[in-house]
């Protein structure tokens, strides 16, 4: 993959690799409900997606999107709803977490609106602009995460981790769908953080992202157990919020670290949703000339409506299945679409601003 990749391609690569963390977070669920094959499906899809995209780009050039034709139309129909579903799902997930702890006096649509509007504004300027926004906010997110995990260290009781059953797996299951957005967001930030504009850098960033997201999952699992012990740790709906909520510093301007958690989470949700909206809109825009405005509009609205139903409390299983389906769909559709788009000489104009 010589030459510079288009921001759209890198963004979609980030999306594909972000799906890898789905089984990482919910091994218990997958094993219990759908069996080992279900666990492997997103991993396989991600591997196929990354490998297939890498191979496909050798044949299609670095910027196949501008070419148009059946490949792009296929990509638009196959990918745009999936990516937009991801945007809507992440918004919903954040809103649920926020409403349960932070914006308790507000209806659910308030946090949905805040994240939705802010992300739409950022997405309006395009995928490159979203990449720049991520670059600007990444230090804030990284600092926030370090603080979040460092602050509760004083509350850790190592005896909680010693015993006949450490129960990491039940805690992982107990994290619920809501933590998915933050973990995946971290990965997306690394991949899409403005430093990946060629294939090698994108792959390196993707691997770093998977490692970072994995570490985040491990720490998010160990900390609730170490602080609350069993069986309290298993009853928490948002373990990370509970962990940070246990820290009280009266000399600090904010008494509870929950506020910081929500700040970090809101920033991550904003970035992830902005990226997904921008990617979805860009892919959809490519297809408008051949699809027509009305079908394109339907493709944009349907996944959002679907997400609002899927993500309601109590619909965890359905949501996870939906995410699993996303992984498979994107992992297969992206390389297929790229191959369909055909070979195109690498024109290599600078992916403006993505350096």
């Amino acid at each position: 993959m010589r030459g510079e990749l288009s921001p759209l391609t890198i963004g979609l690569l980030a999306f594909v690799s972000s799906l890898c963390v789905t089984p990482l977070e919910y091994p218990g669920f997958w094993l219990a409900s759908l069996g080992p094959l279900a666990v492997l499906a997103p991993i396989g899809a991600t591997a196929v997606g990354l490998l297939g995209t890498t191979v496909a780009m050798r044949f299609s050039g670095t910027r196949p999107w501008e070419r148009g034709g059946p490949g792009v139309r296929f990509l638009a129909v196959a990918l745009a709803p999936v990516v937009l579903f991801g945007a809507a799902a992440n918004t919903e997930v954040y809103a649920q977490a926020s409403a349960s702890v932070f914006t308790v006096h507000f209806p659910l649509y308030y946090p949905v609106a805040f994240v939705g509007v802010a992300s739409a504004v950022a997405a309006y300027y395009g995928v490159v602009s979203v990449a720049r926004t991520i670059s600007v906010l990444f230090p804030l997110v990284a600092t926030g995460l370090v603080l979040l995990f460092a602050a509760p260290i004083g509350n850790i009781d190592l005896r909680n981790l010693v015993g006949p059953q450490p129960a990491f797996q039940p805690t992982l299951d107990g994290m619920t769908i809501a933590s998915l957005g933050a973990v995946r967001g971290f990965l997306v930030l690394l991949v899409w953080g403005g430093r990946a504009r060629n294939g090698r850098a994108a792959t390196r960033a993707a691997l770093l992202g998977v490692a970072g997201a994995g570490l985040l999952v491990v720490v998010s699992t160990v900390w609730p157990l170490a602080i609350f012990g069993l069986p309290e740790a298993l009853t928490l709906r948002f373990p990370l919020l509970a962990v940070t909520g246990s820290v009280f510093w009266q000399w600090f301007p904010s008494s509870s670290f929950e506020a910081l958690t929500m700040v970090v989470w809101q920033v991550v949700a904003f970035l992830v949703v902005a990226e997904y909206i921008a990617l979805g809109a860009d892919v959809l825009r490519l297809a408008v000339p051949s699809l027509g405005r009305l079908p394109a509009f339907a493709l944009a609205v349907l996944p959002v409506a679907l997400a609002s139903v899927q993500m309601r409390p109590g619909a965890q299983a359905a949501a996870l299945v939906a995410f699993n389906a996303l992984a498979v769909a994107v992992g297969l559709a992206l390389p297929a679409g790229l191959l369909l788009a055909g070979r195109r000489p690498a024109d290599g104009p600078e992916a403006a601003g993505v350096t």
Partner: protein, 503 residues
């Protein structure tokens, strides 16, 4: 009679025959020499200061001249034009500084630039001589960007003086100055300054093309020019830098940026720029690298606090008061006791009063401004608290917010942040801390979407240029360690210094 006496008497005779204010061009057409073009006079040019005269030559011929009296130096007219022609020392062809004119429109334009047009008599077609008066104030100290220990000179309204100030500090043969005429009616000279072997060609070509294509009546100010040249996405944030200090322009030129200086304006435009440039000043550069880092940090924190503190106060006192420590929450509650309005209304009320006072102070003269300050702080502020229309804590927050917005040297950025302050207050009133954060995110998303002359507005943080971020933003190292020019400007010659040779 001595030759000198002979000359004087000749001139007196000549002056007695001068016909001043000849009237319309039709009256003058008969009996004159044939000019090189069809409209020898300046058609459409009239007024009390438009002078049309005739010089009687020794050989009995005449030279006619037109000029705008208020634009030229009359003494020079006498010594450099009238005497040489009247005494026969020169004719139109040999007169020092006389330039031929291709057409009547050029005659008019040159007349309005302080030239004198001459035609008739021996020496051929119409010519003009530049006798423009050096009107303007002397170079003084900068008023909007004051300096304590840095260079103090500031630009003036005369373009030539401003260019000489730049050339005086940058004696580089690669420094280029191009002049483009902008404004159908104002015919303003706009200078384009750059260092030829550093600047990015695309940046230069676009600026040149933009200036040449600009179709406006007049150029009111440098800011006016900048907004038209780099207009793009709507934004309240300044996309070009405006400065009145030559040292800042020189610094920009050697970094690979472009300076645009319109005649008649004491400000230069510098493009491209980034958001971070507005939190710097050349003063800190003089004070040393540690001071630079400290000053930048304090300015950034101050600007951020000024923009967000009012909204954060509203967020913390309405929906999300639980985030405050108990003692602080009690103190806030005690401060607000008796205030009949919710925090959003109260804060908006105080902010609007404060901003009205700021506007009045900025517009008023110095003496009145002092009085306004006293009225604002002592009377209105105190009365607001005593009448329980606002809590004392609210006034403290609003005062900090107002003061902080002046940490930038750019009035445009100050206005933009003051505007965004209201957005954040509204967002906080709607959704507490969550809404406040959303307001900030929208701001960052908006800023990341902006570009100044093709350079991302948030560079070098978005996109990330780590080396530049460190060397030009965070590093307390001395300037000689800044080996490369900032990557954001994409200069052609990237090497700024060679430390091994310096040592």
């Amino acid at each position: 009679m001595t030759p000198l006496h002979d000359l004087r008497s000749h001139c007196e005779r000549l002056l007695s025959r001068v016909v001043a204010n000849l009237g319309s061009s039709e009256d003058r057409s008969a009996g004159l020499g044939t000019p090189a073009f069809s409209a020898p006079d300046a058609p459409g040019l009239s007024g009390y200061d438009v002078v049309r005269e005739e010089i009687a030559l020794r050989d009995g011929g005449h030279v006619r001249l037109v000029y705008v009296r208020t634009l030229i130096e009359v003494g020079r007219l006498w010594h450099e034009v009238v005497l040489p022609l009247a005494t026969g020392r020169a004719d139109l062809a040999t007169l020092v500084g006389a330039e031929p004119v291709p057409d009547a429109i050029t005659v008019t334009r040159r007349l309005l630039a302080g030239h004198v047009a001459l035609w008739g008599g021996p020496g051929g077609p119409t010519r003009t001589v530049n006798l423009s008066a050096q009107i303007g104030r002397p170079v003084g100290e900068a008023t909007t960007e004051s300096a304590v220990s840095g260079p103090k000179a500031a630009f003036v309204e005369r373009l030539e003086t401003n260019i000489s100030l730049i050339r005086g500090s940058l004696r580089d043969p690669a420094l280029r100055v191009e002049v483009v005429i902008v404004g159908r009616r104002s015919r303003t000279e706009v200078a384009l300054c750059y260092v030829d072997d550093i600047i990015r060609r695309e940046l230069l070509d676009k600026a040149r093309a933009g200036l040449e294509a600009m179709d406006v009546d007049i150029v009111r100010s440098a800011a006016d020019l900048g907004s038209q040249l780099y207009a793009g996405t709507w934004t309240p944030f300044p996309l070009v830098e405006q400065t009145e200090r030559p040292d800042k322009v020189v610094d920009a030129l050697v970094s690979g940026r472009l300076a645009i200086l319109p005649d008649g304006s004491p400000f230069a435009l510098v493009a491209p720029t980034t958001f971070w440039r507005f939190v710097e000043d050349s003063e800190t550069r003089v004070l040393g690298p540690t001071a630079v880092v400290f000053a930048r940090f304090m300015r950034l924190v101050g600007l951020g606090a000024a923009t967000g503190i009012a909204g954060l106060y509203v967020a913390a006192t309405t929906a999300t008061i639980t985030i405050l420590p108990a003692r602080l929450a009690l103190a806030v509650g005690a401060s607000r006791a008796g205030v009949p309005y919710p925090p959003l209304t109260e804060t908006l009320f105080a902010l609007i009063i404060a901003d009205v006072l700021v506007e009045a102070t900025v517009q008023a003269s110095k003496q009145v401004g002092t009085a306004l300050t006293i009225v604002g702080t002592l009377i209105i502020g105190q009365m607001l608290v005593q009448a329980r229309l606002a809590s004392d804590l609210t006034l403290v927050v609003v005062a900090a917010s107002v003061i902080g917005t002046f940490l930038t040297v750019s009035p445009a950025l100050s206005y933009a942040l003051r505007l965004w302050k209201y957005v954040l207050v509204f967002a906080a009133g709607l959704g507490g801390l969550s809404g406040w954060i959303a307001g900030w995110l929208i701001l960052v998303g908006h800023l990341a979407g902006l570009e100044s002359a093709g350079v991302p507005y948030l560079s070098p943080l978005g996109p990330v240029h780590l080396d530049e971020l460190w060397r030009y933003g965070l590093s307390p190292l001395p300037p000689q360690n800044m080996v490369r020019r900032p990557r954001s400007w994409r200069p052609r010659d990237v090497i700024r210094a060679r430390p091994e040779k310096t040592r």
